[in-house]
């Protein structure tokens, strides 16, 4: 399937950001930004440092609450969404600086991604204390799913290693695994390839494409490596100083004068 087909106009909108403004005191992090993410596409958010990209992701999954504007997720308006509601609604994410639970093993880290899918523990403590019976059955069923994620990401060998001891590239992979374990509809990746060498980047690109292809997961990603962005994404939105300056296919964006100015600098 080509990029053009995938972004055809008949496609359903998964999430749309409408006129979002976010400030911290006097600092405007995001100014009146709108864009949408279509179901099944890979959408890149790019821009120079401090453009408000990570803040945008934080708004989308409910960690920051914008002063103005709204977010439509699957057609429903979400104004003051909390992160756990976003997660329950099928939004998962990774972080710019690896944010794994460093005292836990790879397996446990990825299992935390399944926690929202596991119901029994939220209803009662007693079965969890007894463990054998429903709790164990649920644990095993989820373990099976997690093992599929581990297979997919080719990290079988480090299953029981505490993640604090893993090299950076693998940590990023485990983090992706944790997000995938939640079977998200929308996956937010904050610089998934930052600080990686070429080989690791290629692996990560392959995983991102595979996730999108095999599971049909919609992906929004922030990335600085333009080669990666151009290759992976279906559409790109460009932010600069908290404002949207361009939006379109990689080719359109690449030739946009505003974007070139923002990246290369121009005297205002």
């Amino acid at each position: 399937m080509s990029a053009a087909e995938r972004t055809g106009s008949d496609r359903e909108v998964m999430l749309s950001v409408e006129n979002i403004t976010l400030s911290f005191g006097a600092v405007r992090a995001i100014r009146d930004v709108s864009f949408d993410i279509l179901k099944g596409e890979i959408r890149a958010i790019i821009g120079p440092n401090g453009a408000g990209k990570t803040s945008m992701l934080n708004v989308i999954n409910g960690f920051y609450h914008p002063q103005q504007g709204q977010i439509l997720f699957r057609g429903a308006v979400r104004r003051q969404m909390r992160p756990h509601e976003a997660a329950a609604g099928g939004i998962a994410r990774t972080f710019q600086n690896v944010a794994l639970f460093k005292g836990m093993t790879t397996l446990d880290n990825i299992m935390t991604g399944r926690n929202l899918k596991m119901k029994s523990w939220r209803t009662s403590l007693l079965p969890a204390m007894i463990y054998y019976g429903p709790t164990q059955r649920e644990e095993i069923a989820n373990r099976e799913h997690v093992e599929r994620v581990i297979d997919f990401l080719e990290i079988e060998a480090i299953r029981k290693v505490p993640v604090g001891r893993l090299p950076y590239g693998l940590q990023k992979r485990v983090e992706l695994g944790r997000a995938l374990a939640a079977e998200p509809d929308l996956l937010l990746l904050d610089e998934p390839m930052a600080g990686m060498n070429l080989e690791e980047k290629q692996d990560m690109c392959r995983f991102v494409l595979d996730v999108n292809d095999e599971f049909g997961t919609t992906i929004a990603l922030i990335e600085h490596d333009m080669g990666v962005v151009m290759d992976l994404s279906d559409r790109v939105v460009v932010l600069d100083h908290g404002e949207k300056i361009a939006d379109g296919t990689p080719d359109e964006v690449k030739n946009d004068q505003n974007v070139i100015d923002a990246y290369l600098g121009v005297s205002h």
Partner: protein, 358 residues
């Protein structure tokens, strides 16, 4: 050489997730239980039960409680003593107020009451990150001590202000009160603590435990992937208070028999239990037991050696104990935050390799 996993294959996830996956470990645990359940009762004497085994068991339970909060969920409590006092007073009021109530139910209810009292102090302080729980639990420690001391209802208006556990039977055997045999009390403690420890282990190895550890290791990330920090911490604090409360109830009923609450469960008890989990191992069930044994046994040994052996003054031994514990805390936090439990693991890993160095 005998401690090898070679040839033991796990064919199911259930087997892989077992608490003691290695056959050698299973034998080891069975052996320990055999010693604790058969050998000790057969050969132990009154002093051994009363001064060593029973307190070790009870403090292990309290340490498990605090470890759930601190070791697994990363929140600090300095009010363990105060919450043990709640458990003890609840146990006393329940037994004297409802004489027909089964003793085991009384113990469990004491834990539940303690958890509810804990909520009063946890709700305001756990909404915010930082050391607020430490201060709130200090508040609990001082306030509860005062409350149980000043309000005579909690002591059933006894003039001495002490609370005394009346005799109670479990399965026809008297295990509380002045007449109860130390060996019987010990066996009950052992079984009860073992069951509750098992339940705690089950909690921490499942999704609930993972949610606690996620909050401990990186609370913002945990929040962003869908955990609710406040609720998660509050649950940890409640479960922790439950365990601590049961331990307090057991301390009154099965160990001390009669206490002046404010004195028996003062702030030093809070520190003692904290030291147990740091020295034993933060985030380890085994560590809770090792730490409790260490903190209970060390002062006894110090007194025997320094006062009995070297003829020093008791107060000198006490000061030395302060320095020793404080120094060990710093040492373990710097060198091995997972405490004695981790040292034991390292020994096992070495054993696996033995006789080869790598």
């Amino acid at each position: 050489m005998f401690y090898r996993e070679a040839g033991q294959f796990k064919a199911s996830y259930a087997a892989d997730q077992a608490i003691f996956p290695l056959r050698q470990d299973q034998w080891g645990v069975a052996l320990m239980l055999l010693v604790a359940l058969v050998v000790f009762p057969a050969f132990g004497n009154e002093y051994f039960f009363q001064a060593i085994l029973i307190p070790v068991m009870i403090f292990s339970l309290a340490a498990i409680g605090l470890n759930i909060l601190t070791g697994y969920c990363g929140q600090l409590s300095l009010g363990t003593g105060g919450f043990m006092a709640v458990g003890a007073v609840a146990c006393y009021k329940l037994t004297t107020g409802f004489p027909e109530l089964d003793f085991i139910i009384v113990l469990l209810l004491s834990g539940v009451i303690t958890a509810l009292v804990g909520l009063l102090f946890g709700v305001p302080s756990l909404r915010i990150k930082g050391f607020y729980l430490a201060v709130a639990t200090l508040a609990a420690q001082f306030f509860l001590s005062w409350l149980f001391n000043k309000v005579a209802w909690f002591q059933n208006y006894t003039p001495s202000g002490t609370i005394t556990m009346p005799p109670r039977d479990v399965f026809g055997i008297t295990i509380t009160g002045a007449e109860a045999d130390a060996m019987h009390r010990y066996v009950f403690c052992l079984v009860f603590v073992a069951v509750l420890a098992m339940a705690a282990k089950n909690l921490v190895r499942g999704p609930i435990g993972r949610s606690w550890m996620a909050i401990r290791d990186m609370d913002i990330a945990a929040e962003l992937i869908g955990f609710r920090p406040f609720q998660t911490k509050l649950l940890a604090f409640s479960v922790s208070s439950f365990y601590v409360g049961v331990a307090g109830a057991m301390a009154l009923s099965l160990w001390l028999g009669s206490v002046e609450t404010a004195e028996a469960f003062d702030i030093n008890v809070s520190f003692q239990v904290l030291f147990m989990i740091i020295i034993g191992g933060l985030g380890s069930m085994l560590g809770s037991f090792l730490g409790a044994a260490f903190i209970v046994l060390t002062p006894i040994m110090l007194t025997n050696v320094m006062v009995g052996g070297l003829g020093l003054q008791a107060v000198t031994a006490k000061h030395f104990e302060f320095m020793l514990f404080g120094g060990l805390i710093i040492f373990f936090l710097i060198v091995e935050p997972h405490g004695m439990a981790r040292l034991w693991q390292i020994i096992k890993e070495k054993l696996r390799m033995w006789p080869f160095p790598h």
